[in-house]
């Protein structure tokens, strides 16, 4: 850490970096259509700034909180900014992941696509800066301003290709849900300020709320932040918006923006409300678990690669909230160490998901650029044409499937470890039901593996399903740098959990009052044993070493004792000679078992060919029940509301006068 202490004031640095992002964005307007300038100059600068932010955040993680009051904002309510461990943690996430995405984006923009590059540059950097400000904001107003600026800039980024109706629809849905969520958050702040008129978080922290008020604030926050994060009934915008956006933006939204929602929730639930009621946690956990299952099941039946990833993001958010819910439960029963364990799992998963999901989204971006195809049904065999992207994507896939020795597994492992303690909860029912939730988490993780096999296998393996895929080109240099950066993040996070947990321990301590630091077995730097080595341990480094040795020995052994002769020939396929690419398993086919098993989850429509069709067609569409059960009824209710008020304005002046007359009389009666 001494290396990093060159920054005397992390807050000042972080704010300057946010401002510098703004400046970089504005510089984009100087030559909005000059892709070379915007891409090769401005975006790399943004990436360097992001790295700087990550460094600053690292140095702030261990340090004391710092705060500053800016001379802008409302008169009694200037902008308060503050960096404490929690903000620093999320700044680290934004910086580290943002750097990879920025450098990738530098190579991504091509002339003549949608919104001018300069404008995109502005929006992109405003987006980055607003995310940084969200996690630094220390009062309700500045938080909301940064929060909505973030929503707005990302909305414009999502709709940068606004000539397509479905992109517009996606953007609309996104901003609508975001806005409704924002109002809920705002109301939560309204409760938290407790009539003092002081919206600074310091004041909210000091307030004491009655049970009902606190619960109201908590659930409003859950609603508001859940809407942004994509928690179950409010997830509907996510699979629309993320695919519609340009890939770097999808990566940024999925990888980073969703985490700001998690940040907001943690801030309100733990820091401001102190999360002392255990059943809140049960509710959060239930929502999280159903979100995770829902997300992964839907993800498995998608046939658009970006939608698939978007649903997978929903799943991961669900897992995150499971961790948070569990932490609240433990915290509510005052089991601090266990709360710290669950919270560490959640925070770790934030980092993990941010790195691997942005990596995967960027890979889809590369594929999209190379092939102009998003539909899984038209891809295939790209590992031959795009080996860089394919192998880097494989890292993301393994991480996303939650497999050792990469980062996805670490957080999952921590989460399951904390679930193992749930039978100790001093409450009937809960201590019996909780372990079942663990099974749900495992089911989710296993399904995630299914999804990832489908994702990787259909895109990169097999034979190309279309002729034009033969012309696909691998990602450019800048794009590769971005991908490698993120992939190495995944690997680092996967291999050095002890160090990473040590780093984020201050954030955990801030949230639940206790870190894992003391409980962490420090017998060996390579061994992760959160409670004690007897209890459970995991060492990814050792893991990797053993596998590597076994791999090498196996490889060399076979060569040494036998031979390495290889012949090439046509595929065997049980002796079937007329193999063509259309005979491969399709994305739909791969999803078929899931559709069968989880049939009640879907609203499915199938068009089966009849035996006499000259051109037989098979089509299946899978839709979300919630859309029909929840959103359309809401839309209908709104429609009903409109129909209800419409007679008020029916054109006849006599009737209008009658309204005034009746109003007057009614009020006069009322006064009497």
């Amino acid at each position: 850490m001494s290396l990093l202490s060159f920054t005397p004031n992390p807050l000042a640095w972080a704010v300057s970096i946010a401002l510098a992002w703004g400046a970089v964005g504005l510089a984009g307007l100087a030559a909005p259509r000059n892709v070379g300038y915007v891409g090769r100059v401005l975006f790399p600068i943004g990436a360097v700034l992001a790295v700087g932010l990550a460094v600053v955040a690292l140095s702030a993680l261990g340090g004391a909180p710092q705060s500053v009051v800016l001379p802008i904002g409302l008169p009694q309510l200037p902008f308060h900014l503050r960096i404490d461990a929690l903000s620093a943690f999320f700044l680290l996430l934004i910086g580290a992941v943002g750097a990879g995405i920025s450098i990738y984006a530098a190579g991504y923009f091509r002339p003549g696509e949608g919104t001018p590059a300069g404008l995109q540059c502005l929006l992109y950097h405003v987006f980055l800066a607003s995310m940084a400000l969200v996690v630094m904001a220390d009062d309700g107003y500045s938080f909301m301003v940064a929060w909505e600026t973030m929503a707005l800039s990302s909305f414009f980024l999502v709709t940068s290709d606004h000539r397509h109706a479905e992109v517009r629809r996606a953007g609309y849905l996104y901003l609508l849900v975001a806005h409704v969520g924002a109002i809920a958050i705002l109301l939560a702040f309204g409760i938290l300020q407790n009539g003092t008129g002081d919206y600074a978080f310091a004041n909210m922290r000091a307030q004491h709320h009655g049970g009902a008020w606190a619960a109201a604030a908590f659930f409003l926050a859950l609603f508001g932040f859940g809407a942004k994060a994509g928690l179950l009934p409010l997830h509907i915008w996510l699979p629309e918006a993320h695919p519609a956006a340009p890939s770097p933006v999808s990566a940024m939204m999925s990888g980073v923006m969703l985490k700001t929602a998690v940040y907001g929730f943690l801030r309100v639930a733990f820091d401001l409300l102190h999360a002392t009621v255990w059943w809140w946690g049960v509710v959060v956990l239930a929502f999280g678990l159903s979100t995770a299952l829902y997300g992964v099941i839907f993800s498995a039946v998608q046939s658009d690669m970006k939608r698939l990833l978007a649903y997978s993001s929903i799943e991961n958010i669900g897992i995150l909230f499971v961790g948070i819910g569990l932490a609240i439960v433990f915290h509510g029963f005052d089991m601090k160490v266990l709360a710290a364990l669950a919270m560490t799992a959640a925070l770790y998963h934030c980092l993990s998901h941010a790195s691997f999901k942005s990596l995967l989204f960027l890979c889809t971006g590369a594929v999209l650029h190379a092939t102009h195809e998003r539909s899984l049904g038209k891809l295939g065999g790209l590992i031959h044409r795009m080996p860089w992207v394919a192998w880097l994507a494989l890292i993301g896939v393994i991480a996303s499937a939650g497999l050792p020795p990469l980062n996805g597994f670490v957080s999952e492992w921590l989460l399951l470890q904390s679930f193992l303690f749930t039978p100790q909860l001093p409450h009937g029912y809960i201590h019996m039901f909780m372990p079942l939730a663990a099974a749900g988490v495992v089911l989710t993780a296993a399904l995630a593996g299914y999804v990832m096999v489908k994702f990787f296998g259909v895109i990169f393996l097999g034979q190309p399903r279309e002729e034009k895929l033969d012309e696909a080109r691998d990602a450019g240099t800048l794009e590769r740098i971005g991908l490698v950066w993120l992939a190495s993040l995944c690997v680092t996070l996967g291999l050095f959990p002890v160090q990473v947990i040590g780093m984020i321990d201050s954030a955990t301590t801030l949230l639940v009052g206790r870190g894992l630091g003391k409980a962490l077995d420090t017998r060996a730097w390579w061994l992760l044993a959160p409670i004690s080595a007897d209890r459970a341990s995991y060492s990814p480094a050792l893991f990797l070493i053993v596998i590597a040795i076994a791999l090498a020995l196996g490889f060399l052994g076979v060569r040494a004792f036998y031979h390495h002769r290889t012949r090439q020939g046509p595929p065997w396929g049980c002796g079937f000679p007329l193999l063509n690419p259309r005979m491969q398993d399709t994305a739909e086919g791969f999803g078929q078992p899931i559709r069968e098993i989880f049939q009640p989850f879907f609203r499915m429509r199938r068009e089966l060919p009849s035996p006499f069709d000259a051109q037989p067609r098979y089509r299946v569409t899978v839709e979300d029940h919630l859309w029909y059960w929840l959103y359309l009824p809401i839309a209908k209710a709104a429609e009903f509301g409109t129909r209800l008020v419409t007679p008020l304005q029916q054109g006849r002046i006599g009737i209008y006068l009658l309204y005034s007359f009746c109003t007057l009389l009614l009020l006069l009666m009322f006064v009497r």
Partner: protein, 317 residues
């Protein structure tokens, strides 16, 4: 990390590499006997491996580098599992690298790779096999975890050495929960190891095959490695089962005497277990792929009941 332990660790690995094909052979023999067939020699799997290693590899034109990488990866994963699961002693230097949860992770990692390999050449069968394999996988994992949960609730640990120690070296107690968990574990093992009634390791019938469908395109040394890895997997499941449910005979120390005592116990257990497997395979029929969820759902249910029973009966109030 003392040299004795390291030696023991190596010994355990070598033993696994040797015993795994033998176990395969033993199961096949038992099956032949129970089915009134003439049994092949117990070393038949070794001969098969040797033959495959000798043969040339025939690669499809469009096989990718991933395809050639997977057999080694698979083999390495299974080797790692065998390093971790205690069979001769609980004092293994590599054992802390992974607990039971991580073990599930390794199996899943191997599964992911083989499923990807199955899709690589782009035949109709490969993809089909991969998808079925993943289907079985995601159904089996929660059940397996519940089994581990029960076991680790008893021993308050997920580290395998600790579980084994707590069951084998504390005073003897009957845990009814373990009975349920054990049955569940057997069901999961059958599914995970491509055994009847979920899969049939000996068939190449399109409609039913799962594991074989994925490895159709492999040949020569690649296929040998995969077969060996499959044998290792079976062996690993056996030793896991013994560690969780019949840990008696696994010593704590690393002394020669301890190991000498542990080896016969292991062989005995393997022989019994192999026979049991053959018996199950003989007595049951392969079921439709879509019955697999019911089958594994049953496993899950049993594991959960086991856990609840543990909470009800075995936790001192």
């Amino acid at each position: 990390m003392n040299p004795a332990a390291l030696t023991l660790q190596l010994l355990e690995l070598v033993m696994a590499l040797l015993l795994a094909p033998l176990l395969m052979g033993w199961v096949n023999q038992c099956r032949a006997w129970t089915q009134n067939r003439k049994a092949p020699p117990i070393t038949q799997p070794f001969r098969l491996l040797a033959k495959l290693f000798e043969k040339d590899v025939v690669l499809a034109y469009n096989a990718s580098s991933l395809f050639r990488f997977v057999p080694y990866m698979l083999f390495a994963c299974m080797a790692l599992v065998c390093v971790i699961v205690p069979v001769l002693s609980t004092d293994l230097p590599f054992s802390p690298a992974a607990d039971v949860i991580a073990l599930v992770g390794i199996f899943a990692l191997a599964r992911l790779f083989i499923a990807l390999a199955g899709m690589d050449v782009g035949t109709a069968f490969g993809g089909l096999g991969s998808r079925r394999e993943m289907l079985i996988g995601f159904l089996a994992e929660p059940a397996l975890l519940m089994v581990f949960f029960t076991a680790s609730l008893i021993s308050r640990s997920t580290a395998l050495p600790t579980i084994v120690e707590s069951l084998a070296h504390r005073e003897f107690v009957i845990y009814p929960s373990l009975a349920f968990a054990g049955v569940a574990f057997i069901l999961v093992s059958l599914a995970e190891n491509a055994r009847i009634p979920v899969d049939n390791p000996t068939t190449h019938l399109e409609l039913t095959m799962i594991h074989e469908a994925m490895i159709l395109e492999y040949s020569g040394r690649h296929l040998a490695l995969i077969e060996w890895a499959a044998a290792l997997k079976l062996y690993a499941y056996f030793s896991l089962g013994f560690g969780l449910f019949f840990p008696w005979g696994i010593p704590q120390g690393t002394g020669v005497g301890n190991v000498a005592m542990a080896l016969p116990a292991l062989l005995l257990k393997l022989a019994a277990g192999g026979f049991l497997l053959a018996l199950i395979e003989t007595l049951s029929a392969k079921m439709r792929v879509f019955r697999a969820p019911e089958f594994l759902g049953m496993a899950f249910l049993l594991a959960v009941i086991g856990m609840l029973v543990h909470m009800l009966l075995e936790v001192p109030a």
